[in-house]
Symmetry: C2
Subunit: 274 residues, 2 copies
């Protein structure tokens, strides 16, 4: 069965965006549509140009017998600004304020479309780094970690606060939480991470960075290295930040509990991403 | 700036699959490309036909001034069988066996591509039901819940075992776990769910169904109703199942700890989905 160009473009676009970061051989597409490789190459040129023009991403061509094409997400700055502006606006709503100056974020983190866009932005920032896995700590960072990992085509490893039988053997560490200065525990399943992995740490919220620092200590136990740290929100009020090389989409600069005023601005995303 | 048909097809396909379940007006696309609505209609016909032919999904057209087009995922049975067969094969590997006859599943659940496919299959089964939210319980069900919710274009609500300050006011219930017969607690943030919501419950693993039953009790507290129950794996060994109307992708029919043999087969997905 033969496919027309228009049909190929639709199916290939869907296939590529559903399999980001995966090298797909031209032969695969040629067989899929019963088309010549030269036609597939032309199709891919159209897709690449459209993706780049619309600020969706790009296609990377790997030459040679083992080569092929790979879709890489790359959200353009203009769209990132629009999205982060909207996030700031939503986060500044006074009804988010909880006792103790905490912010209710479940509604934001509960929206798959929002979570996926955060994942695309994080993946855009780390697209050129070698990353083997994304790590997060249960619970709120999990959807963000998956959204980023899906785009980077790597697995997610989830650190827990407690050990469960379904985790198998685990490695656990104690760390000092940055804000409360309390000793806490983190547990990671032994089988989760290979020695030498380059790991991107993703979390929803960072105050002093104690939790992130705990994850870094845990990585050392696995002889793994930190390839990057990305958080949705960083809180500016942290006096002595334990972590300095990270990206944040949104910065929480102040919470006035009396006036019910939440001050939010852009994080360092655009500065650090370069 | 004008766009050629080929460019429109690529960008529209990407836009539709990134925004599943969302009604998009023809005017939106016409403005996006500076094209006549008649051209957009023709483009959408090509996309719809290709999606249906490839077993990706379909486009639903809503007529009238407030109308538009909506992409709905619909994985064809043939692809579902291939995927579930592969899942069964992966799950049956003896090295998964943990003390007590538990199975190590982190590696499977840690793969975003696998998780997203499970989400598409669940969404395919519930595409024609009215669903307002997807509910799961922390931790392992979370990525599956997001993957399904993304396709259904609804938010995710996460039930926890403990209450945290960032949850705001919560509703908690006690329930009896199906296998251990112990009293356990579940907590849901009050703001998470609106009264009257129709909720799809998603989880990774179901033995007797105690956890799912707990979520059902919690829904009653919110005057919400169960629109469906979907699990990745059901265990057959449960003698008295507390839940009967559910779909499962994979069925764990037996674990022989001595022989290190795990028996896995298709769940009821194909039977129940009709």
């Amino acid at each position: 069965m033969k496919f027309r160009r228009s049909e190929r473009l639709v199916d290939m676009t869907n296939y590529l965006v559903e399999n980001p970061g995966q090298l797909i051989s031209l032969t695969y597409f040629a067989d899929r549509y019963g088309s010549a490789k030269s036609s597939i190459s032309e199709d891919l040129t159209i897709i690449k140009e459209t993706f780049e023009q619309r600020g969706i991403g790009t296609l990377i061509t790997v030459p040679g017998a083992a080569g092929g094409v790979k879709y890489i997400v790359n959200i353009k700055d203009e769209d990132a600004v629009t999205f982060i502006d909207k996030m700031c606006e939503i986060m500044a709503k006074p009804e988010r304020l909880l006792p103790g100056g905490y912010l209710f974020m479940n509604d934001i983190l509960g929206q798959p479309q929002t979570v996926n866009m955060v994942g695309r932005l994080i993946a855009t920032a780390y697209a050129n780094k070698e990353i083997d896995a994304v790590m997060t700590v249960a619970t709120k960072g999990i959807p963000l970690a998956y959204a980023a990992a899906a785009q980077l085509n790597v697995p997610v490893v989830i650190v827990r606060r407690d050990s469960r039988v379904t985790e198998g053997s685990t490695v656990s560490i104690n760390y000092v939480s940055g804000s409360s200065k309390r000793i806490q525990t983190m547990v990671l399943s032994k089988r989760s991470l290979e020695t030498g992995s380059r790991v991107l740490i993703v979390d929803d919220f960072m105050v002093a960075g104690g939790t992130v620092n705990g994850m870094i200590s845990l990585l050392e136990e696995f002889e793994a290295t930190v390839a990057g740290i990305a958080v949705l929100v960083e809180s500016e009020k942290a006096e002595d930040r334990l972590v300095d090389d990270y990206i944040s989409l949104v910065k929480l600069s102040g919470v006035d509990v009396v006036e019910k005023k939440i001050s939010v601005s852009h994080g360092n995303y655009f500065k650090r991403k370069k």
